[in-house]
């Protein structure tokens, strides 16, 4: 199953999104939160993100959802710090963090490929709410 990593400046947002996703997921679905700094400040930490990617990966790839700004930069740096064999199956989704993660988790739980998970997550950009 494709793993999911949620990256936010806020630890609570990352954990909250992961919690929400886990409600919709298969029991074996891996969802990792990487939010905030090690000492509890608002921010992002590429090392923490890299560890979350490793945990979320079971060989079928990882889709990452990020909030904004340095979350994207730190995630790209985390990818650069990974070994090539893992890096090649990790993708940062161009999608909203909440809607995208949920769409991805539902799709991943059906056993879809990384490409399919990312595609479905991307479509959540176009969700019309009212």
């Amino acid at each position: 199953m494709v793993g999911i990593v949620v990256v936010s400046h806020s630890k609570k947002i990352a954990e909250g999104v992961a919690e929400l996703c886990s409600q919709m997921a298969h029991d074996e679905q891996k969802i990792e939160a990487a939010g905030g700094t090690e000492d509890g400040r608002i921010g992002t930490d590429a090392i923490k993100i890299m560890e979350a990617i490793k945990k979320a990966d079971n060989g079928e790839g990882v889709a990452i959802f990020v909030d904004m700004g340095s979350a994207i930069m730190s995630t790209e740096l985390a990818l650069d710090l990974l070994d090539e064999d893992i890096k090649k199956r990790v993708v940062i989704a161009d999608a909203p963090i909440v809607e995208g993660s949920i769409a991805a988790v539902v799709q991943a739980s059906t056993g879809s490929s990384l490409e399919e998970v990312i595609m479905v997550a991307k479509q959540s950009k176009n969700i019309v709410k009212i």
């Binding site: 608002i42 992002t44 590429a46 700004g69 340095s70 790209e76």
Partner: protein
């Protein structure tokens, strides 16, 4: 030529200068960014200073790589991955070396800047640290070509970095949170360019001691 011990001194002095300027950097950032640049940089370089004790007998590459990884894991804001990438790229130039020669210094500076460009997807003239770093790099390279000593070259680079910071007051931000302000960012100096200037100034001051 920069010896390993001199490199350690430079890093220690950078930590002290960032600490002294943490409120200044934070105030600059509060005006146009999210108001944490000084706090974040101080967290990062304080952690670097503590970590340096564990690598003081290692080569320059290891020392700089440790600096990079510490900044990456402790800074928190955008300056973490940006300076982290710059130090990581610079570290690769002097992997295994106990001394850094002038050719290495130019290459490290260039690699560091290329790292920031790649990571930040930024270029000169966008009110970022690059507006201090690129003119400083050019001045350093030209001064060394003209026969300046490394200490003289860094003094000139420092002046160029200062002018670069002044230049950021005249332009609007198109990167980072300050870009939300559009034209209202004009008139404010960029906090990232300012911390880059402080780092170059510290290198210059340490070499001229």
């Amino acid at each position: 030529m920069i010896t390993r011990d001199l490199l350690l001194d430079i890093l220690k002095n950078i930590a002290a200068v960032i600490k002294d300027n943490r409120q200044f950097l934070t105030d600059l950032d509060a005006a146009i960014g999210d108001g944490d640049h000084g706090i974040n940089m101080n967290k990062g370089f304080k952690a670097v200073e503590e970590k340096l004790d564990t690598v003081r007998d290692k080569d320059c590459g290891t020392i700089l790589k440790t600096t990079a990884m510490t900044l990456i894991s402790t800074v928190g804001g955008a300056s973490g991955p940006l300076y982290g990438t710059a130090f990581l790229k610079a570290a690769m130039v002097v992997n295994g070396k106990m001394e850094i020669d002038n050719e290495d210094i130019v290459k490290m500076f260039d690699e560091g800047i290329q790292g920031i460009i790649m990571r930040g997807k930024a270029k000169r003239g966008e009110k970022t640290m690059l507006d201090a770093l690129i003119p400083a790099y050019e001045e350093l390279m030209n001064s060394l070509k003209d026969g300046s000593t490394i200490a003289e070259a860094f003094n000139k680079a420092c002046k160029a970095a200062y002018d670069g910071v002044e230049y950021t007051k005249t332009i609007r931000a198109t990167k980072g949170r300050a870009s939300y302000l559009g034209d209202r960012s004009i008139g404010h100096q960029d906090p990232g360019a300012t911390s880059s200037y402080l780092i170059i100034k510290t290198v210059a001051d340490t070499l001229n001691r």
